[in-house]
């Protein structure tokens, strides 16, 4: 006789499922996909000096062997007008003092990132220590002109510091 109670519970069930699935989707979007650039675990910072950043900016990724281990916190100039990038990297990685940093790009016009190559020394890199063994960004325009007029064979050797 009373307004059939089953009708409302069914509506409630559908709506409840919808909202729950929606919250899951939102959480997934925010936590998994949206967290790609942030370094969630404990981190430490190093600095690296370059002669040319070539489009690297704060927020760019820091990778080792293609795995994202951190990001660029900020970029600045030192007193000799060298570019200094501050890298925030996972703290659990034991990086040796002779680690090298190079600016790479994914694809020809792709985003810039810093690739770290750990060395073999026993001495470890300390927090905020300056990495001097670096490889700056490839200057695209001069590279293309050299390709076009036949001056160079491999882009990797073009800007070695």
């Amino acid at each position: 006789m009373n307004a059939s109670p089953t009708k409302y519970t069914r509506l409630d069930l559908t709506v409840g499922t919808f909202v729950l699935a929606g919250l899951l989707a939102l959480t997934f979007l925010a936590m998994r996909i949206g967290a790609g650039n942030s370094v969630s675990s404990a981190s430490t910072t190093y600095r690296a000096s370059f002669t040319n950043l070539g489009g690297l900016a704060s927020g760019s990724s820091v990778m080792i062997s293609g795995v994202v281990v951190g990001r660029v916190d900020k970029v600045d100039l030192d007193e000799r007008f060298h570019a200094i990038a501050t890298l925030r990297v996972r703290a659990d990685l034991k990086l040796s003092a002779d680690t090298t940093a190079s600016i790479r790009s994914s694809g020809l016009i792709g985003e810039k990132f810093i690739a770290l190559s750990p060395g073999g020394e026993d001495v470890l890199l300390k927090t905020d220590e300056l990495i001097t063994d670096t490889e700056s960004a490839v200057d695209l325009e001069s590279l293309i002109s050299r390709f076009a007029f036949g001056g160079v064979k491999s882009p990797d050797s073009s800007d070695k510091k």
Binding site: M1, N2, A3, S4
Partner: protein, 272 residues
């Protein structure tokens, strides 16, 4: 039934100097009307003379441009929100088109004013709704939607919804519009019967003359936005006023006019 702070002499509902315009068009002009307590008052008039507008002003849905509606001597225009809410709890309105909520079942439609505008406990609401549906013979249709009902059933359902709050005033807007003569009689019988049973004050707007005269205690005639007759049904039948006569005797004129048309005489100017 009257609250202790109002003089018992004040009529339940009173209209004083009421004017209502829509744009440049004056619908109601300087109306004065007293609705006596416990009686059935019928407002007669041709279609489009502002009867529904008057009724909506009485219900507080439309705000008059001048004048006021007084409920137990207190003007509605000076009531604050709780005062207006209190008035609405004691007043029900039966709309011409029933105005049932088509997304709700019959049961929920009747329960709606109790659930939303009162603080009654649930069992009490359930008992009252069941009672209202039973009185109007709609018990078997509680789970149906208004769209699944006939016109007469919808009218009864709207009446059930109007009466379930046990109002002191019920305003009926053309309760018989579009019904056949037998159902018209049934609706007026239903109104008169429930008015006797519940003891509410009724204001009925209609243009169905014989039924209205038979059922009501007082009659008012609205012509072109002014009331040109107020009185008992017997006075209405005896009145010599031309406006009353024109409205009252239109049926008897009909035979003569039809006969004239059949004879090939020109159609009277006021009909053409």
């Amino acid at each position: 039934m009257s609250s202790p702070d109002t003089p018992p002499s004040a009529p339940l509902l009173e209209v004083r100097g009421l004017c209502k315009n829509f744009g440049d068009h004056t619908v109601l002009h300087d109306l004065n009307l007293v609705v006596p307590r416990g009686r059935l008052l019928t407002i007669l008039g041709k279609s489009g003379t502002g009867k529904s507008v008057l009724l909506k002003c009485l219900a507080g849905v439309l705000v008059p441009d001048a004048g006021d509606v007084l409920f137990e001597g207190r003007p509605l225009s000076s009531e604050d929100a709780p005062g207006l809410a209190a008035f609405r709890r004691r007043c029900s309105y039966l709309f011409q088109g029933n105005a049932l909520l088509d997304s709700l079942t019959a049961w929920d439609n009747v329960a709606l004013p109790l659930e939303q505008a009162t603080l009654l406990p649930k069992p009490e609401i359930r008992a009252r709704v069941r009672d209202a549906l039973r009185r109007l013979e709609l018990e078997a249709d509680a789970d149906r939607y208004p769209s699944q009902m006939s016109g007469g059933m919808q009218k009864r359902l709207a009446l059930a919804r109007a009466l379930v709050t046990r109002p002191e005033i019920v305003l009926f807007d053309e309760p018989t519009a579009g019904l056949d003569p037998i159902r018209r009689n049934a609706v007026f019988t239903m109104i008169a019967h429930s008015q006797r049973e519940f003891g509410f004050t009724a204001v009925v707007v209609t243009h169905d003359l014989p039924e209205a005269l038979a059922a009501s205690d007082r009659v008012a005639l609205l012509v072109d936005g002014t009331l040109c007759f107020k009185g008992a049904p017997a006075e209405f039948q005896d009145s010599a006023s031309p406006a009353v006569a024109a409205f009252r005797d239109s049926a008897s004129h009909l035979a003569g006019q039809i006969a004239a048309i059949r004879r090939g005489e020109p159609v009277p100017a006021d009909l053409a």
